[in-house]
């Protein structure tokens, strides 16, 4: 499969959204869109599925609260029960603050770790920049060229009509 991309660049988010909608209407599959900030409305236009990251937070958060309660119970009831001011060995209410903090700590760290894993962000990674300025003031749409049923000329026309600054082919360093 050839790994070439058609890249159209734009100077504003309105033309970008217009182009995304037009390309979707013509059944061109968008590889990705590159923007300097999250453009609202692109999720719907690109049919991006809702992220499953909240599940990571939930599951790891649940693990955090369980771990914290288990540790405190083990230490204060099973391993070495000490009478502190006549409080019961299993002072569950007093164990809540630490359980809450551990839930937040593990939930938060795991969500960010999951984001980095899923989006393949890691130190030393060579960024794939499809056009100059996509981290500054340019917007770009990339289409992966397919062997069958891919009319690049028509695509270029759609992009130009939507207000593209430039449309070009390039080898993808994927």
């Amino acid at each position: 499969m050839p790994n070439n991309l058609v890249v159209a660049t734009f100077s504003d988010p309105v033309s970008l959204l217009k182009a995304v909608n037009a390309a979707q209407a013509e059944k061109y599959r968008i590889y990705d869109v590159f923007t300097p900030y999250p453009v609202h409305g692109l999720d719907e236009a690109m049919h991006v599925r809702p992220s499953r990251l909240p599940w990571v937070t939930f599951c790891v958060g649940l693990t955090g609260v369980t771990l914290a309660l288990t540790l405190q119970f083990y230490a204060s009831v099973l391993d070495w029960p000490i009478n502190v001011g006549g409080k019961p060995d299993n002072s569950t209410l007093a164990f809540i603050p630490i359980s809450f903090e551990l839930t937040v700590l593990l939930g938060g760290l795991s969500t960010v770790a999951a984001l980095f894993l899923r989006a393949r962000l890691y130190p030393g990674k060579k960024p794939l920049l499809v056009a100059e300025g996509v981290t500054n003031d340019k917007f770009a749409i990339a289409f992966r060229i397919r062997e069958t049923a891919f009319d690049a000329r028509k695509l270029a026309e759609i992009m130009k009509q939507s207000g593209a600054l430039s449309v070009g082919e390039q080898e993808a360093k994927l």
Binding site: T35, E44, D79, P97, L105, A119, P127, G133, D137
Partner: protein, 484 residues
């Protein structure tokens, strides 16, 4: 029937008279996207001015002083402070509570205002979060050096294998909760701040000239390329972190207040402490945010991004939290009288008429009277006036903690155990030094990292356009909005 009326309703939003209302503008002069990048990256790329060097020189001198004082303290023990049998906590814990409170405004701005969709947070959230991190660093130092034997500080953490024999830390103690809460708070704040920085680091990587800069920013930006699929996940992650940080920040100062509230000491033993401390923390934090931002917007020429309207909003938050704090002061006195507890009553009479009464009145002057100067719009938008108010708030909130801690301790139940606390040179040196640490870190931050979140400002600058597009309004008209 009801469903058809439901779908028809949103159309009313498009009525022409509503469009006349100007959307709030949080960036002056309508800069282009590239202009925003240039403006914000400018302080990092230009040579620092004289003002920066003078501030840095003073801050760094104070930091060196801190290093010396802390070394002296650890070598000699905490007897070099003015502590005694009556007053076992004084400047150390006052500074700790003061600094941890300062940090809270940063989290409020970055997390709570994000959940409330307040757009004015975007110009100030980066520097406020940085302030949080530096304030937590200052705060975390104090319980450490206060321990007397700081090399045993790790004993407060439960760890495997347990080297203390079969003995565990006491999980019922608020001091243990505090350690866990502050470590969590520091960690989550750092991660949240770094996550927000990643897209901006990529922008800086792509515009960096030097090889070293390119390498460092390249390493830190994790190969960010502006992909929308990543943006989409990124925004969800930010929202989750904001949702976690919001109860976290409330829990942190609540737990700090429990260090006092769970004791039996008059002046400490009260259930009002958690909300009272949280309001005070936000009040003092906004005071510090205003102090810092008024200085930086002036010296770094970022008035376009940190406008007087931002200062106005912050002044309003200050007023609100200041009045909550005043209310808490009044409630404490009322409860002392209404409880009929003689020790509680004696404590509050001592607070207002005893040897430390001047601290109490200074606190009232700064925290109860000062916020009321902000009722007029003129006061809230006069920069020099706000600067003075913000300094007064900082002073007032430091004295609030001093009053709570030292005045409660110095005359407890038995008159035979009464005493006075007088700070020594080391006490004052470490207090000044902690400001040195804070300002050194902050001044370095505004030189090496973008102090305003570029990508968020770009988002806000073009928000009107995106909003209309999402609701399907025609394109041509919107293009004019962009250029306008």
């Amino acid at each position: 029937m009801s469903s058809s009326t439901m779908t028809a309703e949103p159309l009313h939003l498009e009525k022409p008279e509503l469009q006349v209302l100007p959307p709030p503008v949080w960036v002056d002069g309508g800069p282009s996207l590239a202009q925003i990048t240039d403006d914000i990256a400018h302080p990092m790329e230009a040579r620092p001015g004289k003002g920066w060097w003078i501030c840095f020189g003073i801050a760094f001198a104070a930091l060196l002083n801190l290093g010396g004082m802390v070394t002296y303290l650890i070598a000699n023990g905490i007897g070099v402070w003015g502590l005694n049998n009556s007053v076992g906590w004084a400047f150390d814990i006052t500074n700790f509570v003061f600094w941890i409170g300062i940090g809270h405004a940063g989290t409020l701005i970055s997390a709570i205002l994000l959940l409330f969709r307040q757009q004015w947070r975007t110009s100030i959230n980066r520097s406020a979060e940085a302030m949080t991190l530096f304030a937590v660093a200052c705060a975390a130092m104090f319980p450490g050096i206060h321990m007397g034997r700081p090399w045993l500080a790790h004993f407060i953490f439960p760890y495997f294998p347990n080297q203390r024999g079969p003995l565990w830390v006491n999980f019922r103690s608020p001091l243990v909760w505090d350690v866990v809460a502050i470590s969590t708070y520091g960690t989550i704040s750092l991660v949240f701040w770094y996550l927000g920085l990643v897209p901006d680091l990529a922008t800086l990587r792509d515009r960096a000239q030097g090889k070293i800069k390119k390498f460092i920013f390249g390493l830190l930006s994790l190969g960010w390329n502006g992909s929308h699929r990543t943006w989409s996940r990124y925004e969800i992650t930010s929202l989750i972190l904001a949702g976690l940080a919001t109860p976290l920040v409330l829990s942190v100062h609540s737990i700090v207040s429990m260090d006092f509230a769970t004791s039996l000491l008059p002046g400490w033993h009260t259930t009002i402490f958690p909300p009272y401390f949280v309001a005070g923390a936000i009040y003092s934090g906004f005071g510090m945010v205003m102090t810092l931002l008024i200085i930086t917007r002036q010296t770094m020429h970022l008035e376009r991004y940190i406008t007087v309207r931002h200062l106005d909003k912050m002044a309003k938050v200050t007023m609100l939290t200041g009045m909550i704090v005043s209310y808490a002061y009044a409630t404490e006195f009322f409860s002392a009288w209404y409880s009929g507890n003689i020790y509680e009553r004696a404590h509050f009479i001592n607070r207002a008429t005893g040897p430390y009464a001047w601290c109490f009145y200074l606190m009232v002057l700064c925290n109860v009277i000062t916020p009321h100067f902000l009722w007029t719009k003129k006061a809230r938008t006069t920069v020099w006036f706000l600067f003075i108010v913000s300094i007064l708030i900082n002073i007032g909130m430091w004295f609030e903690r001093f009053v709570i801690i030292v005045v409660s301790l110095h005359r407890a139940f038995l008159p035979s155990g009464w005493g006075m606390f007088y700070p020594t040179k080391v006490d004052i040196g470490i207090l000044v030094g902690s400001f040195g640490l804070f300002f050194t870190l902050f001044l370095l931050f505004i030189r090496v990292l973008p102090m305003i979140a570029m990508w968020e400002i770009k988002n806000v600058a073009s928000h009107t356009v995106d909003h209309k597009m999402a609701h399907g309004v025609g394109g041509e008209q919107n293009k004019e909005v962009i250029r306008a």
